[in-house]
């Protein structure tokens, strides 16, 4: 008759092996997780928020009217743009969020065939260059040159790209 006294030891050995393999797997898979999950999700939310705010600002009240965004860009209205944008961004049911922004306008300089930009909203003193900022953009079509911007081509209808840098401070 075959002696089966070793059965319990075999089972123990198998159990120990499974436990060691699982431990090794969990330890190895823990190392790379947190940073990735930390940054992408808030970035995605912030980017979507900024795009939605620009889309709202670019929507005129009625058909045929000019949108707020186009007015702010064509009159180069820094405070108007900043207040409208941050007002939408920071709106919460209770209290206010703590988002900050700066904005540039990119245009094409036809005679030198260069892409140039000028600041529309300067960053405030929360901007240190180390923020995890996201960039959102919106096309704006203008009837002529924006007022108060030097160094552009002669006035013509033009499409410019409004680029907003958005960060939480």
């Amino acid at each position: 008759m075959v002696n089966d006294r070793g059965q319990l030891y075999t089972m123990e050995g198998v159990a120990a092996g499974v436990i060691m393999l699982l431990t090794a797997y969990i330890v190895v898979s823990t190392t790379s997780v947190y940073t990735a999950g930390d940054t992408h999700i808030p970035d995605m939310q912030l980017e979507q928020l900024g795009s939605d705010v620009l889309a709202m600002m670019d929507t005129p009240d009625t058909k045929g009217e000019v949108s707020d965004l186009e007015i702010f860009v064509s009159t180069n209205n820094e405070t108007g743009f900043k207040n409208a944008f941050l007002g939408y961004c920071n709106a919460k049911a209770i209290g206010a969020d703590n988002l900050h922004m700066s904005a540039n306008v990119t245009y094409r300089h036809a005679s030198s065939n260069e892409i140039r930009d000028y600041p529309l909203v300067e960053p405030d003193n929360t901007w240190t260059g180390r923020e995890s900022a996201v960039r959102v953009t919106r096309w704006v079509e203008l009837e002529g040159n924006p007022s108060g911007v030097s160094g552009m081509d002669p006035s013509r209808p033009r499409a410019v790209l409004v680029e907003v840098l958005l960060w939480r401070a």
């Binding site: 999950g37 670019d58 953009t137 499409a159 790209l161």
Partner: protein, 127 residues
């Protein structure tokens, strides 16, 4: 196991089951930190808002210039193409055709092409 006391076998077996169960739960907690990561990466990578914005810019262009080709409309079109390439890393082109009768309405056929190296988008839309 005739000569051996085997009362402890069930206890050992249950201990094994509990140990495996605990490790399984730990694995789930460990993976839960990843929830939403690939989704967020996908959303960040896919230029949904850029394409929507480009379409609206093209519609604005058609509102303004119809399908006429003159120096002003050509300059605006060049603006969109050149700035897209420089600032959005996207190769963009669009063209507006003569109005056609679509279900009793005169609409312009617009073809829009967008390619940022990862996402490619082509559309013919009547506007």
């Amino acid at each position: 196991m005739a000569c051996m006391n085997e009362d402890g076998q069930w206890i050992v077996l249950m201990g094994l089951l509990v140990a495996v169960g605990l490790f399984f739960l730990a694995l789930i907690i460990n993976q839960s930190a990843l929830v939403g990561q690939t989704t967020a990466e996908g959303v960040l990578e896919f230029p949904k808002n850029d394409i929507r914005d480009l379409r609206e810019a093209v519609f604005d262009y058609v509102d303004e210039f119809d399908h006429e080709e003159d120096t002003e409309s050509k300059a605006v079109r060049d603006d969109i193409i050149a700035i897209s390439l420089e600032r959005k890393n996207a190769v963009v082109d669009f063209s507006v055709g003569d109005p056609e009768d679509i279900s009793g309405r005169d609409l312009h056929p617009i073809t829009i092409h967008y390619n940022n190296g990862v996402t490619e988008y082509h559309e013919t839309v009547y506007y």
